[in-house]
Symmetry: C2
Subunit: 145 residues, 2 copies
Amino acid sequence: MPTATAADAALASELRLSVMRLARRLRGQRAATDLGLTHLATLSSLEIHGQMTPGELAAHERVQPPSMTRVIATLEERGLVVREPHPTDGRQVLVQLSDTGREMLKGDRRRRDAWLSQHFADLSPDDLELLHRVAPILERLARAE
Amino acid sequence: MPTATAADAALASELRLSVMRLARRLRGQRAATDLGLTHLATLSSLEIHGQMTPGELAAHERVQPPSMTRVIATLEERGLVVREPHPTDGRQVLVQLSDTGREMLKGDRRRRDAWLSQHFADLSPDDLELLHRVAPILERLARAE
DNA sequence: TATTGTTATACTCTATAACTATA
DNA sequence: TATAGTTATAGAGTATAACAATA
């Protein structure tokens, strides 16, 4: 049935453009913390999953290991994460959120999302409900193989 | 009512992370054309709106004018757009899609969206319906003041 | 030998500031 | 003077390739 495929392609195109434009917009709002999005996402991952190795973080955030090395270096410089040697494998490193990082993350969350939630005011309750239901779907797409 | 605000903030946080992760994922798929996302969005805008000035394109794509200058230069180098002097205002320039650009855009659309629509296979019809309804909302957010 | 992480290097995208040409 | 566009320059983020340390 070619109709379904064509509809999918049209939806893909529309969704893709919207997501990219919104992402670019959101990227512009990061000035409040002066941390990049991968930095913040990395902190969030550490908050959720506890300590992780650089390799795990790289896989989780979908960046290459050298990129994660740099992200971690920046976070460590600012005292937001702590690096510890792995107890049994000398090659590996364990990264975890510092108390400073945890507080910063918590205190900053409201600010980080201020722009977006502020613009929720323009949306109807139905639209908000829709966003609430669709967010996990976008996350699934982002994490798909 | 603090509940609504807290719920909005939580939704904002969730949506923000999902959108950014999906955007990063989509960015990685651009290899097929080796053109950046702003380049492709610019071509799309020209396809939809016809000829536009660099300033209009910059405003539409939410980038600064010098960035759009470079985007246009790349597109012109590849013969995808044509620059013409403005008929009445010597300061302005009109940019429009070339035939090559139009064909490239058309022929490339399927490939560009292949990754995304391919992953629609993992979603239920209900999820797809949700995505269909949410795309314009994301676009509205992206274009909000 | 294979794996984990890092360093060295380069590329892409975007921004701000300064400049040119025209209105 | 003000506006449209461009050029010059810099910064952030990411990638690949080469390297070091450990398993």
